[in-house]
Symmetry: C2
Subunit: 207 residues, 2 copies
């Protein structure tokens, strides 16, 4: 369950302490640069310099800029999942709780719009070579949503609804980031798609 982006071999050597430190420095520099100017501001040479690592080494840890930014996203997502766990959503119906959770995540992203830009653009621009890492992000997102629904054992239908919610979440974020949708519009889209949960929820109102 861990597809680490480690030097060379996928999950081989467990990374020495100095290597772990390098990896952190790199991710930190990446997030920092991204926070400043978004996707374009994360320049590999600058990341290398900021994190005091040679360019070649940076590429050994993260084989492309997109890999790096997706790993940055994994990092941030973990952080966010932790934060969300502490204050679970309070809505009564599952749909409300999911919408509440996503809007909370959205507000967090609004605080660092450039960072959000870098991460989301990388995620959707990623080609097949990044699939494992993108998939991991997707699983993490699914976990967050299911968590907020309070489900341990979702039905296939509910999983479908969650998939669609994730699609909407990503795409709505993009339209917001590129200035084609307002914050209010994103909220409406999220609330709209969350209705699907009611449609697939056996205890909705009937029965």
């Amino acid at each position: 369950m861990s597809a680490e982006a480690s030097p060379q071999r996928p999950a081989h050597s467990p990374l020495t302490e100095r290597q772990e430190a390098r990896r952190r420095r790199i991710l930190h520099a990446s997030a920092q640069l991204a926070s400043r100017g978004g996707f374009d501001a994360v320049q590999m040479r600058e990341v290398a310099e900021s994190s005091q690592v040679a360019l070649g080494t940076l590429y050994r840890y993260f084989p492309s800029k997109v890999h790096l930014l997706v790993a940055t996203m994994q990092d941030q997502l973990e952080h966010m999942h932790g934060t969300l766990r502490k204050k679970p959503p309070t809505g009564e119906r599952a749909a409300e709780r999911v919408a509440e959770t996503l809007m909370r995540a959205f507000r967090a992203l609004q605080r660092e719009p450039h960072l959000a830009d870098a991460m989301v653009r990388a995620l959707t621009f990623a080609d097949r070579s990044v699939s494992p890492e993108v998939d991991q992000v997707s699983r993490q997102t699914t976990a967050i949503i299911l968590d907020s629904m309070g489900l341990t054992d979702p039905t296939p239908e509910q999983l479908s609804a969650v998939r669609v919610i994730e699609h909407t979440w990503h795409s709505a974020l993009i339209t917001w980031l590129s200035g084609r949708a307002s914050i209010a519009q994103v909220r409406i889209d999220i609330e709209t798609v969350c209705r699907l949960i009611d449609v697939t929820d056996p205890h909705a109102s009937d029965d």
Copy 2:
């Protein structure tokens, strides 16, 4: 209602015949290269050479690779809208018709997966400078969906559902293109999101 990507001034001079011809050649070359190897295969120098135009001229017509590919998508979308009009979907309920239409479009994309890759990646990677063109694509897509619903005067709720359907459509395409979702999975996602139409349709079953 036409945000042409024309040389220099937005909608100024109506383009001479030779200019129109150049523009066509460029779009044709773009689509051709994209069909071969997707986003990466569309290299500006090659597009320029294939369409017998200097690099500088190419950039005068389309100010970036993303602009070019989004324009290519507009072109293809128009074509598809025409095709879809000829054989309207046959389902009884609006949700069925929309799903049918999108699956038809999806099958068309499957025939040219590399072209689809180039266009969709460009669309989601586009930054603010391409917003007008991306918006135009979005309007065109909305029109196709509303067409298939047979709606001339949608309610705000229905428009919200259509927005979410578009989000899902784009994002599902991306997961398919990057090999993270199967064709079957895309179909399920589309069918799932189309249920939203029933939820917002006043004549669904009740009343």
